[in-house]
Symmetry: C2
Subunit: 245 residues, 2 copies
DNA sequence: TCAGTTTTCGACTCTCAGGCGAAAACCTGT
DNA sequence: ACAGGTTTTCGCCTGAGAGTCGAAAACTGA
């Protein structure tokens, strides 16, 4: 790889001798995308044009500007480069700092996890694409690890938070929601159980309306919505709690 | 405050025009400390000698060196400045990047959560001290938020991981463990329930030995130990899982 | 030996996740 | 209009496991 042959840049220090580093904002944007054979959990990737790792797929990223915090930087890069403004949830994932993770210049990176509803299908530039997380190409840098961390975080939070609101559109049927959860979690889910759990936690409510049934017949499905669209923890102390009474 | 009157340093950029930043490693070191009236959840603080925030209490911190990753940097600062080598658990907590969080110079900070067994009582330099988290002084920078984040993280993980091993010494009685959990979580815990839950999860095992009872009489207590001393998640999918069988 | 103290352990309750199957409500063909 | 197929809804059952309680066990000191 050509980048490895290049000499690293001289370390930059301020006038008190403290080292300073590039800082990049990274985005792990996940979506359960409706494909021909059902929902597929996918991640937004970008094909690099420049070394290092020219031609390899990588997470959307960019440098943090002097007057913005990292979360703002992530939103800015997503909005400007991918026209992705409808990120329903964004949270900090992890900061990576291995000295040679960027062979050209030391760069500390902070990755954010973003979730997009399955109804969203923004125009992508030709060098960007959604990739199924179950079948990723070789990724640049340490981005493979970041994607896996992001998927694990989302899967865990699907159990003990209301984060499903970020995967779903405003209204949906229970079958759709189950299919989305199955794609996101990677195993089968019972509609009955899903509805009961979310309802009991007061995260899910029927809108009162129903869909016309599809062309294949069947009972019309009620429409549901998530009651709140901000992240909340179901029960921070799943065990070892005082009797909730 | 004198720091606010100082002009910020000029922004440093490398030769391609990308801004670069100081990066500091921060440590939120928590311990349930045995005091006269039982265990008290405390955090290790440091009284600042220099502006900004001279005289205020702050988290142990220091700059990240050019050849180390942030986690290594945290361990190094703790070892050299506080002689704290016996941190039983250390994990990344959060990265903070508000542009003016350091009024003197823009500094991005990555905080780690460290846990120390209650038997550990390292020598501290005069400017360092353990502070009860329930009664903190005004902290420098945004460190108050970091402490609260750290406490919340530890409390959450006490429920669904085996992280208790990092609060306890190698061997302990169930009463001691309950007292430690109560101090850490801030509410009452039943010994019976605690023992059954940890045993069922195969996190806790009796050593076979017992303590001499204390000076106040009472049945001798069995000694227990944690079966594993690496962090493990009890059940990543507390709900919405396929039948575990 | 007795009173006091602390720990241990069995037993009970109850919440709630998970699964099953019948009934409801629609479609399309005939 | 009716039958057969399909999908959704809903009530019911089960079992795991958290939380509570109280009695018995095992020690100390008087």
């Amino acid at each position: 790889m050509s980048a490895q042959n290049r000499a690293p840049r001289a370390q930059l220090r301020d006038d008190s001798g403290v080292a300073k580093y590039r800082h990049e904002a990274l985005a792990v944007v996940l979506q359960v995308r409706p494909e021909t054979d059902g929902f597929v959990l996918s991640v937004l990737l970008w094909q690099r044009g420049r070394d290092p790792y020219a031609g390899r797929w990588a997470l959307p990223s960019g440098p943090v500007e002097v007057d913005e915090r990292i979360g703002t930087s992530v939103r800015r890069h997503l909005a400007t480069r991918v026209e992705l403004a409808e990120v329903a949830h964004l949270e900090q994932l992890i900061t990576v700092s291995t000295p040679n993770r960027d062979p050209f210049e030391r760069t500390i990176g902070t990755a954010y996890l973003g979730l997009v509803p399955w109804t969203s299908d923004p125009d992508l530039p030709p060098e960007a694409a959604w990739w199924p997380v179950a079948d990723l190409p070789d990724l640049a840098f340490d981005h493979d690890r970041l994607v896996r961390d992001g998927v694990a975080r989302m899967q865990a939070k699907l159990s003990y938070t209301n984060i499903g609101f970020a995967l779903a559109p405003a209204e949906f049927t229970m079958s759709q929601l189950r299919d989305a959860y199955e794609a996101a979690l990677g195993h089968e889910i019972s509609v009955t159980n899903l509805q009961r759990i979310l309802t009991r936690r007061d995260q899910l409510a029927p809108t009162g309306e129903s869909t016309r049934s599809g062309s294949r017949g069947g009972r019309p499905a009620k429409l549901f919505r998530f009651t709140r669209h901000e992240l909340e923890i179901t029960d921070p102390f799943a065990v070892l709690r005082p009797d909730a009474g």
